[in-house]
């Protein structure tokens, strides 16, 4: 263990590329419009006492039913000669007040019930939620009517009725979220830190639920205002002479044909108010909802954008290679910052050859592999340079349709987590048949026979029965076999396997690896194998490329690299892993952290962590040097030369 030094301090990156919540909200035109309108309405309503308005409740029979724009009454008067403008503003004030207070009451009690039910679970959950179910089983207006009937008509009672009717909405939403949070590890951790249940619920869980409560509130306020108006319209809310939007609408109903403005004006007001609140509420939800925040709203296109700048490398394809990638560069543009995930990578996979790419998370190994078939999401990703030649055909300049044809046929993928790659609602057979028929116009029955054959190829016992199984009915190893079967459906020339065994148990991993190894020998398929584990590499790969900060730092045959690594990073990476059978081996940790790919150093990216680094390493970019035998290393002072010039 190295001496106790103060930890590698990564300077706080305050100016993060992610735009702030307010800016996101303001980017949304509709939400901004809603915000402006709502703010105007609220300001006017708040200012009602100081505005030069007529008394809303003073009747003047002489001036009854004046049309809008008449003198002294901008919006006219109603059946009792009261000024409509004044009543509208005072009425809006009441409606807003009732709507917002009802929301607050419903949010408080609903969230409380939801939190307790979701956290406690078991019997308490059952009792609370069945109670909520009973409230929900009544038509809401009937329930509100019943509550008002018991309490008597009046604005305050209408408010209670609406609040109670809306409690279930909050309770169910919040319970769902709490249920997920209560099983999270940090809750267990808090319990082991000695916190009581109440402390965990209100100090640990509540802050994480709060955004959801705000989202739910923002989307319900408008609804509550409508309901208040509805009750007042029926005469159960605001009592005369008090103005509120619903009762104004109700007053105008009888004279709708003779004096339409009396009902249309409050009707419009309700419309504008609720509309603005809903638009704003949707905007707030889009900003706060973590699922939408992660970029789900900006739907990626079907293929990575290719904007190659400068010269496309001279493309004289290597005849021995099935897949030949040169100078691949892939970048992510997020909020004005450029993340150079892949910075110039050359990969060659021959027929029946397995090339392993080894690196830590964030080194760009997956992005390199995904770039080949255009599977990096755009936005924010884009390929900015290089060529990918599949038997001489440039994949980056091919048409979208051509890429669609090649995906899953000539080039197929096997991903890390088979449970999320397979569709949970279709049987394994259906999915295999679909994969077969996507590129081959055969009858369903023929495809099914082929699917059975494929399952047999990947050594799944009893394939005819297994076709009828759903993914969740299979073990992890079996699921990964199904994924491999799918990748083999069309005589793939290259299989891109992205950490295919990382999620599997060691005994299952051994099976899947030996299966892959046999299959590629039998079918002469090239394999691009991505992993972080040198043990797995030696089990399957012929050649290895070690990746660091978006570039290959060393390539060579598996044996060469494992027995005599040339790059200091490779050497350290091998040394820091415990090896079975060598329990006393000293683990040599690599100090520090890999550089961020949006802030790469000018010279060698590994220099800050490298014990052999000198000033020349930091001065300029370092190219790959040939070491002979097809071996390359990106280092000025590789280990094979004992570090001396």
């Amino acid at each position: 263990m190295t001496a106790v030094e103060s930890a590698p301090i990564q300077p706080a990156r305050k100016a993060s590329g992610r735009p702030s919540a307010t800016r996101l909200l303001l980017n949304n035109t509709l939400a901004t419009g809603g915000l402006v309108v709502l703010a105007a309405i609220v300001l006017i309503a708040l200012a009602a006492p100081i505005l030069p308005l007529a008394d809303p409740n003073v009747t003047a029979p002489a001036n009854r039913l004046l049309r809008p724009l008449s003198e002294g009454h901008l919006l006219g008067t109603d059946a009792l000669g009261r000024d409509i403008l004044s009543r509208l503003i005072w009425g809006t004030r009441v409606s807003l007040l009732v709507g917002i207070s009802a929301t607050l009451i419903a949010a408080f009690f609903g969230s409380l019930i939801g939190l307790v039910a979701g956290y406690a679970g078991g019997r308490i959950d059952t009792v609370l939620m069945r109670g909520i179910d009973m409230v929900m089983a009544f038509p809401y207006i009937l329930l509100a009517l019943a509550i008002v009937a018991v309490l008597g008509p009046g604005l305050l009672n209408a408010l209670y009725a609406i609040a109670i009717v809306n409690i279930p909405f909050f309770a169910r939403n919040i319970r769902g979220i709490t249920l997920g949070l209560a099983r999270r590890e940090f809750v267990d951790a808090a319990r082991l830190s000695g916190k009581s249940n109440a402390q965990i619920l209100f100090i640990e869980v509540l802050p994480n639920v709060l955004p959801v409560i705000v989202i739910t509130m923002s989307t319900t306020v408008g609804w509550m205002i409508l309901e208040t108006a509805g009750l007042s319209f029926l005469g159960l809310g605001a009592q005369p002479p008090q103005a509120d939007l619903g009762s104004m609408l109700g007053d105008g109903r009888k004279i709708l044909f003779t004096a339409p403005h009396v009902s249309i004006i409050p009707g419009l007001m309700i419309f504008v108010l609720v509309m603005s609140i809903n638009l704003l509420g949707d905007g707030v939800r889009d900003v706060l909802d973590p699922r939408l925040k992660s970029g789900a709203l900006s739907r990626p296109v079907a293929r990575t954008a290719v904007t190659r700048q400068g010269l496309v490398p001279d493309a004289a394809p290597d005849p021995a290679a099935v897949l030949d990638v040169r100078e691949l560069r892939t970048e992510f543009h997020i909020g004005g910052e450029v993340f150079k995930a892949v910075g110039g990578v050359d990969m060659r996979v021959g027929k029946g050859e397995c090339l392993g790419i080894v690196g830590e998370s964030g080194s760009g190994k997956s992005v390199s592999a995904m770039s080949i078939m255009g599977l990096v999401p755009t936005p924010p990703g884009r390929i900015t340079g290089g060529v990918a030649l599949l038997e001489g055909e440039d994949l980056f300049s091919a048409s979208d349709e051509r890429i669609r044809q090649l995906r899953g046929s000539a080039v197929s993928h096997v991903f890390q987590d088979p449970l999320s790659t397979l569709h949970p609602l279709f049987t394994v057979g259906d999915q295999l048949v679909e994969a077969i028929r996507a590129h081959e116009p055969v009858a369903k029955s023929a495809a099914r026979r082929k699917a059975e054959e494929l399952l047999r190829t990947v050594r799944i016992p009893n394939p005819a029965e297994r076709l009828k199984a759903y993914p969740h009915e299979l073990s992890g190893g079996m699921r990964q076999r199904v994924c491999i079967a799918m990748a083999l459906a069309h005589d793939a020339k290259v299989i891109i396997a992205d950490e295919p065994t990382t999620a599997l148990d060691v005994t299952v991993q051994a099976q899947v690896l030996s299966l892959l190894d046999t299959l590629r020998a039998e079918r002469d398929t090239g394999v691009l194998f991505i992993t972080h584990d040198f043990g797995v590499v030696s089990a399957i790969c012929d050649r290895v490329a070690v990746m660091y900060a978006g570039q290959f730092v060393e390539t060579g045959t598996t044996e060469q690299i494992l027995s005599s690594p040339a790059h200091p990073y490779t050497a350290k990476l091998i040394d820091c892993v415990p090896v079975l059978g060598e329990p006393d081996r000293r683990l040599d940790a690599i100090e520090g952290r890999p550089p961020m790919v949006n802030d790469l150093p000018k010279g060698c990216a590994f220099a800050p962590r490298c014990p052999r680094a000198r000033d020349t390493c930091r001065a300029a970019p370092i190219g790959l040097t040939e070491l002979g035998d097809g071996r390359t290393v990106r280092c000025l002072y590789p280990l094979t030369e004992d570090g001396d010039e």
């Binding site: 000695g194 073990s475 051994a510 584990d533 043990g535 590499v537 820091c576 329990p583 690599i590």
Partner: protein
Amino acid sequence: MSEGALLTIEGVDKTFGGGRTLFGQPRPAVHAVQDVSLDVQPGETLGVVGESGCGKSTLARMIVGLDAPTGGRITFDGRDLAAEAGRDLRRLSRDVQYVFQDPVASLNPRKTIRTILEAPLKHLTDLDAAGRRERLEELMGAVNLAPSFLDRYPHEFSGGQAQRIGVARALAADPKLIVLDEPVSALDVSVQAQVLNILDGLKDRFGLTYVFISHDLSVIESVSDRVAVMYFGHVVEIGTSRSVFGRPRHPYTHLLLNSAPAPGRRSLSAEDAHTELPDPYNPPPGCPFVPRCPRATEICSTAMPPLEGEAADPGHRAACYHPHEHGAP
């Protein structure tokens, strides 16, 4: 050999589900841990290794009192651990702590590191505000992190740093035993070594005892004094690290060791397809490894073999009727 043991587990079972429905139908029950007995000596590291679904995490949660065993007895330092956890988890948490697998998920995203680390100090120790501040700095130093990190939020940390914070939290109340549940599985290999080295240093410095759970054989081999191999809820082999890895007796341990990839090892010996675990809702009466076992005979599927030591090394015990004998590969 349980004399002087810090932690003793005797015949512990854990069943999830079960009971009866409203209408008296029996509910299905999963037998996660079955009849597990082991003990942990003060100052040692006991490694628990096994594949997913073998019950190792359930065992860990029972040791720290997050789950209660459905049968058997767990004794810590002479106290009945399960009863104490039900009555007063705080008292147990002062002595037994836990480090979680997913370092980021185990930290509340909306709390600063200071708040997170102060919680155990507040609830489990008698330190006053000044004492807590001092202890916080000490803890951060112990896990090699700068004290300025205290006012940051969990998402600002890399996995390795977050896991060191998880270790600091476990250390806070000065426990005797720490249960580490796959503490390095979620980390990159270069970071994994940092955390393993820190854990090693802390153990000597604070006189800790570890129960180290992992699916990674090489990690277990490098950290453990003794190792317990679990399969389908049972401990199938237990002994010193050297003897279990050097002379494995149970056929399952053999399979595990031969399946593990190691740099430089070209071919992995893989068995053929049938590798599914038995149905946990309906465990077989005999050894659960029978369907995969090359040495299985009739007796194996009738009753679970007892965990027995060998003549030459009574501490190295295996639950097998036909164990590999000495000298076998």
